[in-house]
Symmetry: none
C-alpha cells in the first residue's frame, strides 16, 4: 500500500520547527507494513497545497496530511482538500460538543473561531482530539484513504496511534517489526566492530546502529507475514548480539534508563533519596516521569549552594574547604547525608561543573563525581563529560541513573537484562 | 527567488532520522531572502527522484538536494539529475585529489568505490567537503541553480554556510527578518481574535500564530532591501500587538521563560529557594539550564513524601491531615518553609497530582497549587492542567516560572516587557 505524508505549515518552510510529525508517522506506518514513498512540506497556501495534493492523489493510496486544522484564517487544509474533491464541509455536532467541552473544562468561553474546527467534509469520520480542539478527519474516496491530523505533535501522536494505525493495519497484510536494543558504556564503532559480520550478512532482519548522546542503540527490523514470524526472524540475531555485547545492554524499545531504575527500585521495595548539585534536579525530574515512583523516591535535595550542602546534607565545612564542592569526598558525604536524613535504603549524589564557567586546570568543566551508598557500602565514579552546560547535565544525570541500575542489579541472582 | 529542498534518502521515509537538513537550509535561506516553497523527501530510487526533480524543475529557480552523494550503489542523486538534464558526468581531478587526501590523512587506502564521488556533471562547480569525502555540486542551467549537498548534517552544514549561502545571497537583494513574540495565559483563538484585523491586512510583514504546550507565539516576518528597513516594517506592527495583548507577552525570539526569570532574579540580586512536589525537580532543572543561576538559586527541595515535607520544610502535620498534601495551605507552608530554612529572598512551591493515579473527584489529576512568597507576602495559584503525567509536570513547571516572573516584575517601575 503506497502512502505519502503532506505536512502543511509555513513555520516548517521557515525552519522554525523541524518536521518530527513526518518522522513519527513514518515510523508507525513502517511497523504495520505501509510503505511511505514521499514526504512533502507546503506552506499555508491554498493554491500550492492544492497542487501538492493533486500530485499525491494521482500516485498514492493513502495520503496523510498534518497541520492547518486550527481555528485561524491561516488554517485551510480541510477547506482545500474538500474543494479539490468537490465535497462540501458540514457541521459535525459531536465534534462541536467536544470542542465546547474542551473550553468548559477550562472554564472558558468557546471563541466563535473554533466553530470552524467542527466543520468536516461530508461523509468523513472525525478523529477525537484528547489534547486540543481540532478533530482529525478520515475520508475514504475512490478507493483512497485521506487522513488529516492536527499539527502540534502532542495532539497528533495519540490520534495517529489510537485511530489511524488500527485503521490502516486492517488494510495491509505485511508486518514490519522492530526490536531496539539499548547499550550504555560502549562506543558506536566498538559495538559495530563486534557485530560487523552480523550486520553485513543480514537482509531480513536488518540491523541498524544509531548513536545518541552517551548511548548506542541497535534496531533489528524484520518483515514477515505475521508478527510471530517476524519475531522468530529477530530472536536468533538478538541472541547472537547479546552473546557478544550483552554486558552493555540495559533496555529495549522505548524503555529509558529511568524506567529500568524505577522498575528495579519498586520490584526490590527499595527507598531512595537523591542529593544533586550540578544536575540541578534533572535526575529527580527524570525518575519522577515514571508513574508510581513516589513509593520509592522519598526526596531529592538540590543543594546548589555550599550552605545548602552543609545545612541540609551535613557535608562538613572541612571537606568543602579541603577538597572543594566538586570532589570524591563531597560526593560521598552528600550521598551518605541524604540517605541518613531521609532514612532511605539508598542515597545517590551528583556534584560537578556544568559550565560554561567555573572550571579550572585541575577541575575542568565536565568533571562530575557520582556517589551511590546503601547498607553494603559507598561507591564513587569520576567522569569527564563533554558538551555544553545542558549536555553535561544530561550526561551526568544518565550516568547517575546507570550507577543506580548497576548497584540495584547486584541484588539479583543473575543479570536482570538477560531475562527474556 | 523561489526555491525548494529535496532530501534524498530512504532512512528519512522509514522515520529512522528526522529531516533536520531541510530545517537548517530553510533557516539559512530565509535569512538571505530566498523563499522556500516546498520540502520534499524521496527515497533512494531513480525513477521517483527523477519525477520529483521534474516537478521542482518546472516550478522553482533554486533547487537544493541533500543526500545520495555517497560512494555506494544506492547513492544516485548526481547520476539522476545529470541524466534528467542530459549532462554527462566527468572526472573532477581536484575533487579526486581531495578524496585521496582524506584517506591519506587517516592512513587508509582509498576504496575504489569512492572514485565515483569525484565524478561531477560537466560544467558544474565542486563544493569542497571538509568533514567527509563527498564533494557538493553547484550547477547553473537555463537560469536555474541546482545545488547538491551530502546528507550527513555535519558535512552539509559547513558547505551550506561557507559556499551556498554566499553564492545565493549574491543573487538576491532582499532580507527576510523575523521577530517572535511569546505569550502566556491567553489561548490561540482569543489572541487571534484580538489581532484579527492586523493579521488580515498585513502582507509585509506577515503575522503567523503558533500554539505550543500552554503558550502561543506570534511570528512577525518582514521582507525588505535591508535589515534596517525590515525592522522598521516590523516595529509598528509589534507596537500595535503589544498595545492589545502586551500583558500576556513574556519573551522574544529564542528566549524561554526560565531565561526571563533567571535574568530578572540576577538583575534584582534576589535569592531563591524552591520546594517541589509533583514537578519532581523540573522547575529547578529548567532554571539550572541557565548559566550563572547559582548566584541566585540556593537550593531546591523535592519533598516527594509527606515525611520530607514535614522534616525539611516544616509543613505541619495538622495541615497535611486537615487539608492534604495537595492544598493551598500546604503550598503556602512549603513556600514559606523553604524560604525560611534557606534564608533566601523568595520561596516558590509546587504541589499537585501529576497522575495517572492518585486523583479523586474533589482533587482530580492535574490539580496543582503554586505558591510564591517574599517579604511582601504570599500568593497562591490553583490550576487544573490537562495531559499525561509528563505534560502536567511540564505545564505546572512553566506556570510556576510564570508566577515567579509576574512577582519579580512588580519590583519594576513599569512592566519589564514594555521596554524596547
Amino acid at each position: 500500500m503506497k502512502s505519502e505524508i503532506i505536512s502543511v505549515g509555513t513555520e516548517l518552510l521557515l525552519g522554525q520547527i523541524v518536521n518530527t510529525n513526518a518522522q513519527i508517522i513514518s515510523q508507525e506506518l513502517q511497523k504495520i507494513g505501509v510503505d511511505v514513498y514521499y514526504h512533502t512540506v507546503v506552506g499555508d497556501n491554498k493554491k500550492r497545497l492544492m497542487e501538492v495534493f493533486h500530485t499525491a492523489w494521482n500516485r498514492s493510496e493513502v495520503i496523510i496530511l498534518t497541520g492547518g486544522l486550527g481555528p485561524t484564517q491561516d488554517d485551510l487544509t480541510k477547506e482545500t482538500i474538500a474543494e479539490y474533491l468537490n465535497i462540501p464541509l458540514v457541521l459535525d455536532e459531536e465534534s462541536l460538543n467536544r470542542i465546547r467541552e474542551y473550553f468548559q473544562k477550562r472554564q472558558k468561553e468557546m471563541p466563535i473561531n473554533n466553530m470552524k474546527q467542527a466543520m468536516l467534509p461530508k461523509g468523513s469520520k472525525a478523529i477525537p482530539n484528547q489534547k486540543g480542539t481540532a478533530p482529525g478527519v478520515i475520508l475514504e474516496k475512490d478507493g483512497k484513504t485521506i487522513i488529516m491530523l492536527p499539527g502540534p505533535p502532542f495532539e497528533m501522536e495519540p490520534m495517529l496511534k489510537d485511530y489511524v494505525v488500527p485503521l490502516l493495519s486492517k488494510k495491509t497484510s505485511a508486518v514490519i517489526l522492530s526490536r531496539v536494543l539499548k547499550f550504555y558504556g560502549i562506543g558506536e564503532s566498538t559495538l559495530e566492530e563486534k557485530i560487523k559480520d552480523l550486520m553485513e550478512n543480514q537482509t531480513n532482519p536488518t540491523i541498524a546502529p544509531l548513536a545518541k548522546m552517551g548511548e548506542v542503540t541497535l534496531r533489528i527490523t524484520a518483515k514477515a507475514g505475521s508478527a510471530k514470524e517476524a519475531m522468530s526472524l529477530i530472536a536468533p540475531i538478538e541472541s547472537q548480539i547479546r552473546q557478544r555485547v550483552g554486558e552493555y545492554l540495559y533496555a529495549f524499545d522505548d524503555e529509558k534508563i529511568e524506567d529500568v531504575v524505577a522498575r528495579l527500585l519498586l520490584e526490590q521495595n527499595k527507598t531512595l533519596a537523591i542529593a544533586e548539585s550540578c544536575t540541578g534536579g534533572l535526575v529527580s525530574h527524570k525518575l519522577t516521569e515514571v508513574p508510581g515512583i513516589s513509593k520509592s523516591l522519598d526526596r531529592a535535595i538540590v543543594s546548589y549552594s555550599n550552605r545548602a550542602k552543609q545545612e541540609i546534607l551535613f557535608v562538613r565545612s572541612e571537606t568543602l574547604e579541603k577538597y572543594g564542592a566538586v570532589s570524591e569526598q563531597t560526593a560521598i558525604e552528600m550521598a551518605e547525608g541524604v540517605k541518613r536524613i531521609s532514612k532511605t535504603d539508598i542515597g545517590l549524589s551528583i556534584t560537578g561543573i556544568a559550565g560554561p564557567s567555573g572550571g579550572s586546570t585541575e577541575k575542568p568543566v565536565g568533571l562530575v563525581y557520582i556517589a551511590y551508598t546503601d547498607s553494603s557500602g559507598c561507591f564513587v565514579e569520576k567522569h569527564f563529560f563533554s558538551g555544553n552546560r545542558s549536555e553535561i547535565k544530561e550526561r551526568a544525570a544518565n550516568a547517575a541513573l546507570h550507577l543506580l541500575r548497576k548497584n540495584l542489579l547486584k541484588y539479583h541472582e543473575e543479570d536482570e537484562v538477560w531475562k527474556p
